[in-house]
């Protein structure tokens, strides 16, 4: 075991082990190179006091990095943008030699954006056969995933594997992760990871994000530097003969010229996440801080936040936003976009390929492109860089040692790189059933679109970010090109690369702003309502939270 401080994995958790107090004390100890945790029983409260791991202690829990050299990319990465692959190697390479599973059955809970595949389908069967184990997937709607995680983690029936996107870690979820999921350090830290070569190829920065409360708890799904984009229907924009907007004002005039409510077409869906990027608004926890005049300032205290809200409100007031989007029906955003009811919508860049491959059969004219970011005034945008891992999967801590090892071996299979037989099965399914090879590129069959194309096994673990879709070479070029154009404008936020677990008492402070921004954007409250909310936020613990982060900053320095 590389890390002598890590407890034996199968040791059952006793209440005393769960009452760790980390926080300031632990951070101090860590920077001094001391023990990772300071168990403290002097305080009467047992709830989490918050934590972050940095420095040497962090290095000790991180797995070694052994990049994969199986296949070389066609479009190399620029400034950290993802490399692109446009064709498959022939023949496919083999990455995992033996069946990873030992015949066990695992239950997995993963998010899905799109249609849930049928249970017991041919794809699952083929995957289970290849794995030598049964993975029972329970994909749940990604747009309402946060509510479900809160309930599932509070219950005693936690699945063996749970995937949690970083943006869903609001409120108390990070505390739950510390308490509910297995410490993977003993299996993966340092050289131990070399037992799983594909997991060893995951970059260190991604693993760093999977350290919660000083321990390696998750398998990171390493993502690109910029995860969200405003997508537009190039086919519709060209048909309308309108120029793409380059400033916030032009967005409004663009919206007016393409909105045609009589014919059920609106310019925009809910664009809030990306509107914030146009105004350089900070991301969410723990990246919602910025140093101004030597003081930490929260995003809700900034002028940019108010300007972004006012702009979003303007789009609503001018009736440029689809009414169903304003009614909070986020789950149907994709359908509104593909059916042409909206011209622009926002999505994770991960959704780009799925939509293009789905529409390429149904609507050959469908042309979806990502809008280049610009600052609201038309200048250079300030884009806050995304963490190196945005989605994580966690293993139930009640799993015995053998099962954890088995599941990690399965994860290793799922993380096989592009160009391997394993990658092909995970991402495309079975040749002949789910896809056909056409000019050396896989093309999905209808069954493939239903069963193999929605990401399921992918969430268990995935290779380092690449844009590798030989069936959609044009989309690969569009995507890799867009990302390379945005990359120069990226800036790392204050606490970049740190997984900060906020103290339980303050972890819920920010959640009210989620309601507030909707109320403001949808015309139910004025922008000035932010002021009241901010003063309530300060009174109910905002200042203490600021001090908590200031302390981390003082002791560890910035992650930017």
């Amino acid at each position: 075991m590389p890390n002598s401080q890590a407890p034996a994995p199968a040791e059952p958790a006793t209440p005393s082990r769960r009452t760790f107090l980390t926080g300031a004390i632990a951070v101090a100890a860590i920077t001094a190179g001391g023990p990772l945790f300071t168990a403290c029983s002097s305080s009467k409260s047992t709830s989490n006091k918050g934590s972050v791991a940095t420095g040497d202690a962090l290095k000790k829990v991180l797995p070694a990095y052994v990049p994969s050299t199986l296949v070389a990319p066609d479009v190399p990465g620029v400034n950290g943008s993802s490399p692109g692959f446009t064709k498959l190697p022939d023949p496919l390479v083999v990455s995992v030699k033996a069946k990873p599973g030992k015949g066990s059955t695992f239950k997995a809970m993963t998010p899905i954006w799109g249609t849930v595949p049928k249970k017991d389908n041919a794809y699952y069967k083929a995957v289970d056969e290849a794995l030598g184990a049964t993975v029972e997937f329970d994909p749940l709607d990604g747009t309402t995933y946060q509510e479900k995680i809160g309930a599932v983690l509070a219950s005693s029936g936690i699945p063996d594997l749970v995937t949690i996107p970083g943006w869903n870690m609001q409120g108390q979820i990070r505390n739950a992760i510390e308490n509910r999921f297995a410490d993977l350090g003993p299996y993966l830290s340092g050289d131990a990871v070399k037992k799983y070569p594909n997991l060893a190829a995951i970059p260190t920065g991604a693993w760093q994000m999977a350290v919660f409360g000083g321990k390696l708890r998750g398998l990171p799904n390493s993502g690109g530097v910029l995860g969200n984009a405003i997508f537009y229907r190039k086919d519709l924009v060209d048909a309308a003969g309108v120029a793409l907007p380059k400033t916030a004002d032009e967005i409004v005039s663009f919206g007016k010229s393409v909105t045609d409510a009589k014919n059920k077409r609106w310019a925009f869906d809910d664009l809030w996440t990306c509107i914030q990027k146009l105004y350089g608004v900070l991301p969410d926890a723990p990246h919602y801080w910025q140093l101004k005049d030597g003081k930490l300032v929260h995003k809700i205290e900034t002028q940019e936040y108010r300007e972004a809200l006012a702009f979003a409100r303007k789009l609503h007031d001018q009736k440029l936003v689809h009414p169903d989007a304003d009614a909070g029906k986020d789950g149907d955003a994709k359908i509104r976009f593909t059916s042409g009811q909206t011209v622009m919508y926002q999505d994770g860049t991960g959704g780009w390929y799925g939509m293009v491959s789905e529409q390429s059969k149904q609507n050959p004219k469908f042309d979806m492109q990502a809008l280049d970011y610009f600052a609201a005034d038309g200048g250079t945008p300030l884009l806050w860089q995304d963490d190196q891992a945005g989605i994580f999967s966690f293993l139930n801590k009640n799993l015995p040692k053998e099962k954890i090892e088995e599941l990690l071996a399965i994860a290793d299979y799922a993380a096989a790189p592009f160009g391997s037989k394993e990658f092909q099965l995970v991402n495309y399914g079975v040749e002949g059933t789910h896809y056909h090879l056409k000019d050396g590129a896989p093309a999905f069959t209808d069954q493939g679109v239903q069963e193999a194309q929605p990401a399921t096994l992918y969430f268990l673990a995935a290779p380092p970010p690449s844009i590798a879709h030989p069936d959609q070479p044009q989309m690969v070029k569009d995507y890799a090109g867009w990302m390379a154009r945005q990359a120069p404008h990226l800036k790392k936020p204050m606490f970049y690369g740190m997984q900060v677990v906020e103290p339980t008492r303050y972890a819920s402070l920010y959640t009210g702003f989620d309601d507030l921004q909707k109320d403001i954007r949808r015309g139910r409250k004025p922008v000035s309502a932010v002021e009241d909310a901010v003063s309530t936020w300060k009174k109910s613990g905002g200042e203490q939270l600021r001090a908590f982060y200031q302390d981390i900053l003082d002791k560890n320095g910035s992650g930017a």
């Binding site: 047992t46 709830s47 409510a261 059920k264 169903d324 009614a327 139910r524």
Partner: protein, 343 residues
């Protein structure tokens, strides 16, 4: 069932036209018979005599204990700074009434109570009479086939899930719905029922009517079917017209059922429809739509403040019990039996 028996048993014997007077006579006949133990029979003898019956109640009692009473113990988290993911119930510190104090000091909580009551009373006034009216209407239809057909149609929406009902409403009355689009074609812009916070309580009432009014008819139809047709004939012979017959025969027959359901509904007032409202929370914002149940969900499940949420839940429970007691008392004062009575 008891009310139905009472109506059937009570009416033929007292074919008077005054509902109140008849009710007074009817009550003793229908009262259950919890007779005091006959002198000379000890508790043990009674137990032996009733053991088969007692044995038969055991499964129900066990289920009740496991699913209704044991979980009640979990309410202890309302008095703790409860850390659901870490320390658990045994390890979390007790903080007395701190959660309740925070609750009562929170302006949002009072806003939530206001919303809950306003939605409930809108429903009580606008929704409650509709199944009764519908039952009377159906009862007056003599063609059995027409009646079955209408009944089938009005029952059907009850079996739709709320997700479906709200999607149907969105497609019909939303800003991009059928009606809005039709109006737009004719130059009227801006129709959107689904995102109007001011109309929200009427919207949810309307949805409830569409979904459940047909279902609510069943109980009233059952009560109506128990009315002796001779009464109508006799009244008709005496020259009573259709309205007088309804007023003096049909409605009095329904009175006990109406009172019973009203008491239950009042006790249920703080349940304004969790799922239905949660699904539309984002459309109108929490200012108009947050009710106690969604608030408990939001603070507990979504933000993880379980102690606080449990305190809100307990408040709801206590308040509901008080409402049931009050409504029951009111029913007694009006000469009805209500949900239960002491005698």
């Amino acid at each position: 069932m008891r009310t139905r028996v009472r109506v059937a048993a009570g009416l033929p014997r007292h074919p008077g036209t005054d509902g109140t007077a008849r009710q007074e006579h009817a009550a003793p006949a229908a009262a259950p018979t919890p007779k005091p133990p006959a002198p000379g029979i000890t508790r043990r003898q009674r137990f032996r005599r009733d053991r088969t019956l007692l044995l038969m109640t055991v499964p129900a009692v066990v289920l009740l204990l496991i699913f209704n009473y044991v979980p009640l113990l979990g309410n202890v988290v309302a008095f703790q700074e409860y850390d659901v993911y870490g320390a658990g119930i045994t390890g979390s510190p007790f903080v007395g009434f701190e959660n309740f104090q925070r609750l009562f000091e929170d302006y949002r909580f009072w806003e939530v109570i206001g919303n809950t009551l306003s939605i409930t009373f809108t429903q009580l006034i606008l929704f409650f009479p509709i199944p009764i009216a519908l039952a009377l209407l159906l009862n007056s239809v003599f063609n059995d086939r027409v009646r079955a057909w209408v009944q089938g149609i009005v029952y059907l929406p009850h079996f739709f899930s709320w997700v479906l009902v709200i999607t149907v409403f969105q497609q019909m009355f939303g800003g991009a719905g059928l009606i809005a689009q039709h109006l737009r074609q004719h130059g009227v812009d801006g129709f959107d029922l689904m995102t109007n916070p001011g109309l929200f309580k009427f919207l949810v009432t309307w949805q409830a009517v569409w979904k459940d009014a047909g279902w609510g008819v069943i109980v009233f139809l059952a009560a109506l079917s128990a009315v002796n047709p001779d009464l109508y004939e006799a009244a008709a012979v005496d020259g009573a017209n259709r309205w007088r017959r309804m007023w003096h025969i049909t409605l009095p027959a329904l009175r006990p059922v109406i009172a019973l359901l009203l008491v239950l509904r009042v006790g249920d007032s703080l349940n304004a429809g969790f799922e239905q409202i949660l699904l539309q929370r984002d459309a109108v914002g929490p200012g108009a739509s947050e009710i106690l149940d969604t608030y408990v969900w939001w603070t507990g499940i979504k933000t993880g403040d379980f102690g606080y949420a449990a305190a809100a839940g307990i408040f709801k429970g206590v308040f509901s019990v008080l409402l049931v007691l009050l409504a029951n008392r009111a029913a007694h004062l009006l000469g009805e039996q209500g949900v239960y009575s002491k005698k």
